[in-house]
């Protein structure tokens, strides 16, 4: 009965985490989408069901990368005696969801236009905006045609007396979204993400693209790529790494981050230089080159499991030295 309870709780926790995480991600994606389409002084359409659904589909795979970590963190703090069944449940659910649901997500996104470059919204006149290194005051805008006062705003020329000012009349301009997808450069100025945050999200987006590519390029490739989930699940070996639960969370956070970073580096061709000459060195090296991601993830699994076992032995010895501690953390 206790086992069944643990399994059911884990199933519930797993699905709640997946659903809540994806819904929250979809909601934030919708807000971001709304702000990228917004132009100052215009009307904001926030509640767009299509964008929300796209957001859920886009956020689901990255969330799946972190779900095992969050479930392991829950196991760290609960003193359940059935941790093994909990881990098995999480592993089965994570692997199954990753292998079967992520490719479906990829196909659904390919059908929708979530990742396509969207047309920018029409700008509003009456504001100063910076475009192509020059400042514009838009007197009027009709579609792609505008009247404006254009002037240079180069700080290095601050000592010059007059500015080069030009009256632009009925000029065609191909308004584009900026690097972060904002229609209005003014909104882009306000909402440009900090470099660290943008690098993190761009990294996730790049990895997601590689994930979908792997999912659509045959079962073997998808199997190789999916070994990342095994490596992520291997952090379960560290749930009892220390007497202090915070230290155990530290190891789980660290192992998950490292696994994701290493896999990201592999998908980003970081190891290509290292693997370049492998195919000419014989069958073994060719095999290593072909299955590098699989080997790397298996190495991570072995390293984490060994660390977990060592920690457990060390902690047990330590506790037996201390004496009568009931060992609820182990």
């Amino acid at each position: 009965m206790k086992i069944l309870k643990t399994v059911l709780l884990e199933v519930l926790g797993f699905f709640l985490l997946c659903v809540c995480g994806s819904v929250l991600g979809g909601f934030l994606f919708m807000l971001y989408g709304a702000s990228t389409s917004y132009v100052v002084g215009g009307h904001l359409n926030v509640f767009l069901p299509e964008t929300f659904l796209d957001g859920i589909l886009i956020c689901f795979p990255p969330i799946m990368l972190f779900v095992p970590m969050f479930r392991m963190l829950t196991l760290v703090r609960h003193e359940s005696k059935n941790k093994l069944y909990g881990i098995i449940t999480i592993a089965v659910l994570s692997l199954a969801t990753w292998i079967f649901c992520v490719p479906i997500c990829g196909k659904a996104i390919a059908v929708s236009n979530a990742l396509e470059d969207k047309k920018p919204s029409e700008l509003t006149p009456g504001y100063f905006r910076k475009m192509n290194g020059k400042m514009y005051y838009f007197n009027s805008i009709t579609g792609n045609y505008f009247n404006a006062l254009r002037f240079e705003n180069d700080y290095s020329k601050r000592n010059e007396q007059d500015r080069t000012v030009e009256l632009v009349k009925n000029r065609y301009f191909n308004f584009k979204r900026d690097a972060y997808g904002f229609s209005d450069s003014l909104v882009g100025d306000y909402l440009k993400p900090p470099t660290v945050v943008s690098k993190f999200f761009l990294g996730l987006v790049a990895m997601e693209k590689k994930t979908f590519e792997a999912a659509s390029s045959g079962f073997l490739n998808w199997f190789r790529f999916s070994t990342i989930m095994l490596a992520l699940l291997a952090s379960c070996a560290l749930i009892s790494a220390s007497v202090w639960r915070l230290v155990s969370t530290f190891w789980i956070l660290l192992s998950t981050s490292l696994t994701i970073v290493l896999n990201y580096l592999y998908t980003d061709s970081f190891f290509d230089d290292l693997l370049k000459g492998f195919s000419s060195r014989g069958v073994f090296f060719e095999f290593v080159q072909l299955n590098f991601q699989v080997l790397m993830n298996f190495l991570i699994v072995i390293a984490l499991v060994l660390s977990g076992i060592l920690c457990m032995i060390f902690n047990n010895n330590h506790l037996s030295e201390i004496g009568d501690f009931d060992g609820d953390d182990l």
Partner: protein, 614 residues
């Protein structure tokens, strides 16, 4: 509680020292004079500290709570226990104190220190400018001005040998010049009647005089054969008086004028030529031609020492200068100003006060005059592009320098007040003077260049040399500050400006957004701290377990995680703030924000209270 505070302080102090040292000893070569190097590095250390203080505090809080919660966890058997309530009460006090520290560091000290550091980076350029100006004035034999600049440079870099040498040189030259001047003066005084030279005449200021006072003054001066003064007061009295006094004032004016005409007829002596020149200047002054009057009296004052001390010359030079400065300013006021500008490349729009349409205003540089209380500014490279309601360009105007003076709305005429300051809360508006004149040469002027495009024969009234801008002076200074990257901290003023922002060509959302981010920063921090205390409870150190030193090494990673998570959460909150503002306007957005944080804080508190012990 003691455990939390001691663990928190231990980590916070230790990590703060490290953060400070990383900033202090970074590899950047300090781009400042040697005497400022330590201050520069110290400031670098402070900036590094202020940037990392939120994540340091979060980590310290996690550490403190995680260690301290071991004991209460043994007494907390079920959810929502009174024991946990007590813990929460103390925890909230501490969280609020930490929030205060983080908010002060992030919202006040960090921007302040960054601005200071930026100005320190400009010091070498400023020193260079001061040195060039000192050398320039030394070459121009103006050691007094040269000393002023070298003193300013020494105030920044007091131990600079070159500057000290320059100062010694300038002092020497000033002493030499003083001796020369004394020698010249003694000769000049010998030629002049000493008593006359010592006695300075009363300067006229009729602004506080009544008509009766003016008539009395006029009569007094007439009796003393001072016909200029008699005529001056009588004419001013006729301009202001009612029918009762008009007869007497007119009589006195005519009488004084007759006497002046009589004197003028008497011969062609040097004295008479001087008198006629004074009369010509006086005539120009009375007829409102202040520029001509100023140059006549200024010319007379420069002819010789006796004329310089002539009471009429002194009085009417003073009066004509005062009247002239109502509409113009002197070119020498703007000398060397471009070096010390507060803001560069400013731009904004202003709706026309009357008849619709708007102006686009571009300014190359703004200099606030020290000691003017921010009420006088010089605008370099002012360009105005005026459009009608159909967006057709009406005219453009350019001037190398304009002077901006804050004028009290209460001093404006009723008509001007109605046109330029219709909002009763406006206290001051800017007055812009476009023309500048030489102090000594009537042929050197800087006049605005008007271009009326299709209209080849504009009226003179279409080309004003001074005008008011229909913008509260405070709003202009806030726009200026926003260009300097220092948004006003007062949320009420920012709120007020945000409503007007579209009139000035800026987005309402921009100002409101910056304000909301600042207002809600402490709330976000507080929620974050309570969330951390929940994590700390969940992953606490057991009551009987002993803290091992090696665990300290996990803290930098938590610090890093908190640094990143805080940035990410802050960014998400920024997007939410922006969407709220764009969707519902700033007032509703603030209310929604308050409700959001109240709910979030409530949920966090409930979650904390729902914890149970071992």
């Amino acid at each position: 509680m003691k455990k939390i505070i001691s663990a928190f302080l231990c980590y916070a102090i230790f990590a703060s020292i490290i953060a400070f040292c990383v900033g202090f000893f970074n590899f950047e070569v300090a781009p400042v004079p040697q005497s400022m190097e330590i201050i520069y590095k110290f400031s670098n250390g402070l900036i590094a500290l202020f940037r990392t203080i939120p994540s340091i505090c979060f980590t310290g809080f996690l550490l403190g709570c995680s260690i301290a919660f071991g004991d209460p966890a043994t007494k907390t058997e079920h959810r929502f226990s009174p024991e946990l309530g007590k813990v929460l009460k103390k925890l909230l006090f501490m969280a609020i104190a930490v929030t205060l520290v983080i908010s002060l560091c992030s919202l006040v000290f960090l921007p302040y220190e960054e601005a200071k550091q930026q100005s320190r980076r400009n010091v070498p350029f400023i020193l260079n400018d001061y040195t060039s100006l000192t050398l320039k004035y030394m070459r121009n034999k103006e050691p007094e001005t040269a000393l002023r600049y070298v003193d300013r440079a020494l105030a920044i870099d007091p131990k600079n040998e070159n500057l000290l040498e320059l100062k010694r040189e300038a002092e020497l030259k000033r002493k030499e010049q003083e001796i020369d001047e004394l020698r010249e003066k003694s000769i000049s005084y010998a030629e002049t009647n000493l008593n006359e030279a010592k006695k300075l005449p009363d300067l006229f200021d009729e602004s506080k005089m009544t008509v009766k006072d003016m008539i009395a003054k006029s009569r007094e001066h007439l009796e003393a054969n001072d016909f200029f003064a008699a005529h001056y007061f009588a004419v001013n009295a006729t301009r202001l008086c009612k029918a009762d006094d008009l007869g007497e004032a007119s009589y006195l004016a005519e009488k004084a004028w007759e006497e002046l005409q009589k004197v003028q007829m008497e011969g062609d002596t040097d004295g008479m030529i001087f008198f006629r020149k004074k009369l010509a200047g006086y005539n120009a002054l009375i007829n409102g031609n202040f520029v001509e009057a100023y140059y006549v009296f200024y010319g007379l004052s420069q002819e010789d020492a006796r004329k310089e001390r002539d009471p009429d010359v002194i009085r009417y030079l003073d009066l004509s200068q005062k009247r002239l400065l109502d509409s113009y300013f002197f070119i020498d006021e703007t000398e060397d100003l471009s070096t010390f500008e507060n803001v560069n490349n400013l731009y904004f729009t202003l709706p026309h006060a009357q008849g619709g349409g708007y102006d686009i205003i571009l300014i190359r540089g703004v200099t606030e005059i020290e000691g003017s209380g921010g009420l006088v500014r010089y605008l370099r490279g002012l360009q105005i592009y005026s459009f009608d309601t159909s967006n057709n360009l009406l005219y453009t105007v350019k001037t190398p320098y304009a002077k901006m003076v804050a004028v009290k709305v209460s001093d404006l005429s009723d008509n001007d007040r109605r046109i330029y300051a219709s909002d009763p809360s406006t206290k001051m508006i800017p007055e812009i003077k476009l023309c500048s004149l030489s102090r000594s040469h009537d042929d050197e002027k800087r006049l605005p260049e008007y271009d009326f495009l299709k209209n080849e024969n504009p009226r003179e009234s279409d080309k004003p040399t001074k005008f008011f801008w229909p913008i509260p002076y405070q709003n202009f200074t806030m726009i200026e500050h926003s260009f300097a990257g220092q948004l006003h901290l007062n949320p009420f003023l920012t709120r007020k400006l945000s409503d007007k922002a579209p009139d000035y060509g800026f987005s309402r959302e921009g100002f409101s957004f910056a304000m909301m981010n600042k207002i809600f920063y402490p709330f976000m921090t507080l929620v974050f701290l309570i969330f951390i205390s929940i994590i700390a409870w969940n992953y606490r150190l057991a009551a009987h377990a002993i803290f091992k030193f090696k665990w300290v090494f996990i803290l930098p990673l938590f610090n890093l995680i908190f640094y990143f998570v805080k940035l990410a959460v802050e960014y998400i909150i920024r997007i939410m703030n922006f969407v709220f503002i764009a969707m519902a306007g700033v007032d509703l957005a603030i209310l929604a924000g308050l409700a959001f944080y109240a709910i979030l804080l409530g949920a966090m508190i409930l979650t904390f209270l729902a914890r149970k012990g071992d």
